[in-house]
Symmetry: C2
């Protein structure tokens, strides 16, 4: 790439994991990474299974596994790699995510040597394919209420896995319908206690689901979820268990174990705390899902922008040639604010990726532990960023499709399959709305309270002010941001619209006030009115969560901007981030007006400035697209590459 601006932008976006991204760009093979929209479900599944094996052969499965088993044990790198794979077929991405991330990650993080010795190498090589069997028909979001039971039988020293009701069946499980030989199965662990059972909450076991010939093992019924709205190459299916007996040692015992006499041990006494600690170790899945979706969104925008910069339609009066559609303000307003948000979200994604590696991938000496608060804060940020990133990707691909008109609807132009595939990213690894509530809860609750009952109504009656202030202090500690903030302080009604300090101040005021309001409302809760009070405030709760994420995204972005070398790329990035900030303020204009943070004249100026920034970015569209760093070999859309086809002349 000979465009220094594009190079500067890309280097900034690449961040800490530039090397692994560059390596991927250098070798990204379309035959290995792209799909074949329109092939039958069976063909898609076979193609993806085949590609998965080839990717494993390249060693891509090893990133993020323990070094002792041949892995490279870089958690952050595995997220960066996942992001890069997000520029290819998303069925393959998700299939790999199920195999190496969910299934393999659960074995690695929840299990111990007795499991690792047996399967990790086979998992990395994709010789042992497996499922992550958590979701049930009856419970997707509220997984603490799973119905599957895992009952210890002291007579045989076995665990008995059972689906007691139809709604206990595991469903939407990736790898289940066709490929999984093993599965990590979540259920309620219990041991006999007199006429009844002692209950320990949700735990996971590693078990076979198919025999060497691919048939379900006795007691396991496997179903097929059939055709889906996307991800046709992923064989989602169901598992039902009829009193399936497995050895006691199948329990993934990192956080809890059972003795042969049925005695239960765990270092974490509280059942909730234990469950959320287990889930917390799997947070990487959410980091990956957000990052992978973000890549798909970027690719969609890149295709639409390249086409928009080429396509002409309607002539100005007196002109002979028609106007390039990207010269229309309406077209710019469709695409540039989304592009700016893609840039900003990348910096936030880099930030959580690096923090993940710091906290999950970097053991401290002498058995020291990373502070629990930092770990919880990471989980909150990841939950919020996953929700915001996946919704953004959906919107970006949808807008890109429409912006390309009929050509956008033809599969060869690489928008429709990705759009269909990315849809469920808003649902899996946590429904976005539920995740935003988790963010609000994380903000509202003292961290130790996180280990209380996660039922949503529990948000009520919690101390908020201290937490809000704690967060402000934390972010205020970043020197660069503090300088920006100081310059802007107290001049809200006279700052220039492109003053990043003012933008940051607007984001902070929005987030802080939203959180305070929710806190005040919920503080009135009693045991009897808790649900109603929470429910009436639910839109505020979601607003508080979303605006908190927005604030984090802008902070991370402005920090990254500070670190860029002076020059044209930095100047352009500054405009991109202003567009991100002002588009966000524009969307919440009503809030800023209602709360006296903008007067009507400045409110109109926000819109005028968004328009102006779109027009200022227009001449740099190719640098901005190239700056995203999408492997060119994976962009094959005729409308973006100029290859003649039935959709491009």
């Amino acid at each position: 790439m000979n465009d220094p601006i594009a190079t500067g932008l890309r280097d900034a976006l690449d961040g800490h994991y530039r090397e692994i991204r560059e390596e991927f760009r250098g070798q990204a093979d379309p035959a290995l990474l792209l799909g074949d929209p329109g092939a039958s479900t069976q063909e898609q599944r076979e193609r993806v299974t085949d590609q998965l094996g080839k990717i494993a052969a390249l060693g891509h499965g090893r990133v993020g596994f323990p070094a002792a088993y041949g892995g490279t044990h870089d958690y952050g790198a595995s997220c960066a790699l996942f992001e890069m794979q997000g520029y290819g077929d998303l069925s393959l991405l998700v299939k790999g995510g199920v195999q190496f991330g969910l299934f393999g990650g659960a074995v690695a993080r929840l299990g111990s040597a007795r499991h690792h010795d047996k399967v990790l190498s086979g998992i990395m090589n994709a010789e042992i394919l497996g499922s992550f069997a958590m979701t049930e028909i009856g419970h997707g979001s509220n997984v603490q209420r799973l119905e599957t039971t895992i009952t210890f039988d002291p007579a045989t020293d076995e665990l008995v896995v059972d689906s007691p009701t139809p709604s206990a069946a595991k469903t939407y499980i990736g790898n289940a319908a066709k490929d999984a030989r093993m599965a990590v199965v979540f259920g309620q662990l219990r041991t006999p206690a007199g006429d009844s059972f002692a209950e320990y909450g949700v735990h996971a076991v590693l078990m076979d689901v198919r025999d060497g010939e691919g048939n379900p093992i006795k007691g396991v019924t496997i179903g097929d979820n059939g055709v889906k709205g996307g991800l046709p190459g992923v064989d989602n299916g169901t598992f039902s268990f009829d009193q399936v007996r497995i050895p006691r040692e199948a329990l993934l015992n990192k956080f809890a174990d059972l003795d042969s006499d049925g005695t239960y041990h765990s270092d974490i006494a509280n059942e909730n705390a234990r469950f959320f600690t287990m889930l917390g170790t799997l947070v990487r899945g959410r980091v990956c899902v957000g990052g992978g979706a973000a890549s798909a969104g970027k690719k969609g925008l890149a295709i639409a922008l390249r086409y928009g910069a080429r396509r002409r339609q309607f002539e100005a009066p007196g002109a002979e040639q028609e106007i390039v559609v990207l010269d229309y303000l309406a077209h710019q307003r469709k695409l540039f604010p989304l592009l700016a948000k893609s840039y900003a979200l990348t910096f936030a994604q880099n930030s959580v990726t690096e923090t993940l590696q710091e906290l999950h991938g970097t053991p401290l000496p002498d058995g020291q532990e990373h502070p629990k608060e930092a770990i919880r804060e990471l989980e909150t940020r990841v939950a919020g960023l996953k929700a915001v990133s996946t919704w953004h990707a959906i919107e970006a691909l949808q807008t890109a499709r429409e912006a390309c008109g009929g050509a956008g609807f033809i599969a060869e132009n690489q928008l429709t399959q990705a759009r269909a595939d990315v849809d469920v990213f808003a649902t899996f690894e946590g429904d976005n709305t539920v995740l935003l509530q988790l963010v609000a809860k994380g903000l509202l609750t003292e961290y130790k309270e996180m280990f209380g009952d996660l039922a949503m109504a529990d948000l009520a009656g919690l101390v908020t002010k201290q937490v809000a202030e704690g967060l402000v202090e934390r972010t205020a500690g970043r020197a660069g941001l503090q300088r920006l903030r100081d310059i802007a302080r107290g001049r809200d009604h006279e700052s220039a619209m492109d003053d990043h300090g003012w933008q940051l101040s607007m984001f902070e005021q929005r987030a802080d006030h939203a959180l305070e309001t929710v806190g005040k409302r919920l503080r009135k809760a009693t045991k009897d009115n808790g649900f109603e009070l929470f429910n009436d405030a639910q839109d505020h709760v979601l607003f508080a969560a979303r605006t908190h994420v927005d604030r984090c995204v802008l902070e991370d972005s402005l920090e990254a901007l500070e670190q860029m070398p002076d020059g044209d790329a930095k100047t352009l990035m500054g405009k991109v981030l202003s567009l991100y900030a002002l588009s966000s303020i524009e969307q919440d204009k009503a809030w800023f007006l209602e709360h006296g943070r903008l007067n009507t004249s400045r409110s109109r100026q926000v819109t005028a400035t968004v328009n102006q920034l779109c027009q200022e970015l227009r001449p740099y569209v190719h640098s901005l697209v190239d700056g995203l760093g999408i492997p060119e070999s994976l962009i094959t859309a005729p409308i973006a590459t100029g290859t003649p086809s039935t959709t491009f002349a």
Copy 2:
């Protein structure tokens, strides 16, 4: 249906064409009307072709064709029927729309007896399948610039159809890839004039594209657009013409004809006027597309609401049973405002359907003609409603999908295929953004100016005030609305939020002010700055168009409400329409605040009232869903019917 409220709602929504809707409900056969998501493209195409023939055998193709050829010639009824078919598979809907509406409609409305005698009967019976070949690779929205040429050759008394460039190829043409034997082909008509040609603008010819054995006729190259983002059963493809010779009489000659000596005749002297008159006669296509999409959206909401009223997730503290998800405010806010908009849009759809029948389907005695102003106004309304309805349907299906979580992503639950199919409804029959600009143009321009250059920059410098006032006068003429308006007048800051007169006044103020602002800005245009001025105002132009449509929708809805018999259904409908109105005001809160139409306290009250209305509608959810009048036989989603499956226990 034994629910009198649901019956009352349904009767109101059914409107004038209740009979044809009831008949359809009584006979809606899932085997005939539903699709099979996940089948291969080839299977889908074959299934749809087969279903098309069966529908034609039922006589559904006859509605809307001249009685002299066996049709029933009720234009409005053909739209109502199309709406009902929109509850079935959308590939079939679109295939039928291409055959009977676009292809058949063009022959009927642009041709004359020489064409009708030859093909109309075969078109209605689906014995002669055909295409409507307008769009080219290079021109989709700006169809006045089509490149295909239709050149008269006096030596042989023939027309020569030719694609002079690659971008002149017809593309995205329904029926082309597999089935069409004939096509209505649009191109630039010209006759030899010395060394050059006399040009007459875009005209249409009726020609063969395949021979009796299904092979392309000589000179016609047929291509396949292949896999698309939806509508897999529609065989979209391409036509290229290499000097294809057809008889002079192939010209569809309702509005213009050629003599054998090459003399050109038309009653409409102006080339633009002629072209837009031709297009105007085809306005039914847009009516149908908006109505069909709206039906798909309603079905999606119905499925999500029924599931939401049954699905439980998360328990309130102290409660044993989990909470029904539709009891969460966030879930209500996702779905009820969309449902309310679906109700309101139905009334607007009924209004344009009836007007269409009045103006296009009801000849006046003694060769009198319907007033041109009324015809143009209808075209403007149809353009706007098509844009708003199709975008709404996309949003409704998308939201329904997400609201159903993983279950929503599984094809058997009938959301994903419809969501994918409906996507392109925002593009075909006019790109929505371009259509909204057409609406603005229609409002800004004296009707006779409509016949000027349609280039978008031409909006500039036109008299607006009179037109805006003219519109207000027109709608003020409706007695019921006038009464509402009088009661509310002058009390903007004290009216109750559920006062329909106040709501209407807010909608009117928004639309009128938006239009005035655009008019003032564009009046400054000169020949040199026209495009820039227009372009800088493009967001205002789109806002003016959209708010005009909103106003029309509310007017039509409140009129329909007035006509309902007093009772519970009417009371509930009143709340539904308040929710529609207040949700719309809430979305534009910033505008109302900026322009002093809401103070901050009333602005917050709007949101509080939206929340309250959602909760008030909650107990009536089943009546509200049943009231939509969707044929129950076409709702097969296990999550909506309670049938056990891999997604519902």
